[in-house]
Symmetry: C2
Subunit: 346 residues, 2 copies
């Protein structure tokens, strides 16, 4: 009936190691947790047995007593969206180096699903969660996040700052984009603004207005159009804006996809870029470098967002409250041929 441990399929336990090393299993526990009060000789013997048997402690059993899992939850609207997958990469990177694993949850842009997955993560006793994007009612989310030992939001914040957030300075981004166009001599600059409800859209609009104001240019409501932030969504908005306002010589777009639809619209009606219309995008996704002409775009360091989110989360988990406030990431304008005549990207 009895099988030799080496032969058995069963995992090696702390008890097996203790017996083989001729000590109590508490001593083994001390060794694997690097605790004091173990004689060097014993320690070495135990370590040898561990090496021989290939023993590794069960994180499950450990979690049951420590109430920690060394796991964090990552909640994103859509992992196949390059914006979020880059964040995910940044998150995984830093988490892994700190011994944490990442549970990935996709909400499919669905608010109720977001609460559901948080529920699941809570059940699974994750040590903390990182929640990305999705504009919706704050109250239910805030309540859900209160269950966790720690939580961080990316690209979103609560008014009362109860949850640390990693934010992009979109006001600055909008300002830089617009300022660049102003410096090139443009005075009639339109803005395709994305969804009206978008938090970052509102901030980019502020930056746009701020730059215009500084330049002493009147801000006109009819120069601003809203749309769904996709290539298809931008098409109609761009067409109508350009048709109704032939005076516009430049366009700032909420994101690169919309900027691409501007490129297309111009190709259709025979307007040259940047001679007849200068175009600035936002996000600086890979696509921006690949269309022709390549897009001037506001670069958002997405992996950096993920890195910062984890760092902040781990600080909160470890009660290092000093780094649990709001972190602002600064975007940078990358200038390419859609605003300046020469194709810098070769």
């Amino acid at each position: 009936m009895h099988q030799d441990i080496a032969m058995s399929r069963r995992r090696v336990t702390i008890d097996d190691v203790a017996k083989l090393a001729g000590v109590s299993y508490q001593t083994v526990s001390r060794v694997i947790n690097n605790q004091p009060h173990v004689s060097p000789a014993t320690k070495q013997r135990v370590q040898e047995v561990i090496a021989e048997t290939g023993y590794r402690p069960s994180p499950i059993a450990r979690s049951l007593v420590t109430a920690r899992t060394a796991t964090i939850g990552l909640v994103v609207p859509d992992i196949s969206n390059p914006f979020f997958s880059a964040i995910a990469r940044g998150v995984e990177q830093v988490a892994y180096t700190h011994g944490y694993s990442v549970l990935l949850c996709n909400t499919g842009e669905d608010a109720s699903r977001e609460l559901e997955v948080l529920h699941t993560l809570d059940e699974r006793y994750v040590d903390g969660v990182i929640v990305c994007g999705l504009r919706e009612d704050d109250a239910p989310l805030q309540q859900a996040l209160a269950h966790f030992r720690a939580a961080v939001m990316v690209n979103r914040r609560f008014a009362d700052e109860t949850v640390p957030a990693i934010l992009v300075d979109d006001v600055l981004g909008g300002y830089l984009a617009t300022q660049h166009l102003l410096q090139l001599g443009h005075t009639a600059i339109g803005f395709i603004a994305g969804p009206t409800t978008s938090y970052s859209g509102i901030k980019r609009l502020q930056g746009y207005e701020q730059a215009l104001t500084e330049a002493g240019i009147e801000r006109r409501d009819d120069w601003v159009h809203y749309c769904i932030p996709t290539v298809a969504g931008g098409e109609a908005a761009v067409h109508s804006l350009l048709a109704n306002h032939p005076e516009l010589s430049a366009l700032f777009c909420y994101n690169d996809l919309i900027a691409v639809s501007a490129l297309r619209a111009c190709a259709t009606v025979g307007r040259r870029i940047p001679e007849d219309l200068a175009v600035v995008g936002y996000d600086d996704i890979m696509l921006a470098t690949l269309v022709s002409p390549p897009l001037t775009s506001c670069h958002v360091p997405r992996m950096e967002l993920g890195n910062q989110a984890v760092s902040t989360l781990l600080n909160c988990i470890n009660d290092e409250a000093d780094r649990c406030g709001e972190t602002v990431i600064t975007p940078e304008l990358v200038i390419r041929a859609s605003t300046v005549g020469v194709d810098l990207a070769v």
Copy 2:
């Protein structure tokens, strides 16, 4: 000293519920696991208490005894690569509906890191793993995968078929792409083949050759160039192939990024597409629809790969061996303006 449960910050346990319902905690266990031998009255009373207290069983404690975690590991080379993030979305989707969570592991294209994360996943007692891509020594990986209750590979296979795999029929893809060009009347068709070591590259080459052979066209080695499968990587390969072989009227590219570099190369030297050169890409990433002209490309249903991977994995976990073989996903050619004169995408 004693705190009322409702007031306490401590999680509600099965014991609390049992006491409040006036039954043994075994009975509560029966109720939450839908086991028989509980009287309707008792069952209802217990369920009421569960609802009142908001009790939810601890998956940790449960895992400790069942040796299952309802968690699967997903190993990808780079989650920020659209190919893998789409797979990840497919994986998460199906896993979630079956009550499984997904631990995300990024290997950064590093083979040793791949083994490391598998080690971690093994420690964490995941119920199974899905490993995507990365061409490397089979032996160490195969050995690592043997530790798991279940494992599935995506876009990769072991010769002995010990591990179920989800594969794309790349021979077919290469065949369809080439056949399409042949049907348009092209007889001199080049192939930019991606990395020489690429498993899928070799298969696409086979499909390319097969189509040529069927059409009675001699396959010429110097019509095939290899390169790193990026826009930058393709640039040199495309230039040299076109410069040395002006007879080529069509180009089949290993992926869409290389196809984009073909578009660029032609723009530089003034060759029109598709009149002077027809171009076919592969993967059908979003970019394919956005460049001009839009790319004819071989569509690979990436989310479907993820869906199938989880389905297969869950079958293996549950010992339903019937669905644990190799699954082949069929790609489809999407025809756009880079091969036919009219811009179908408007």
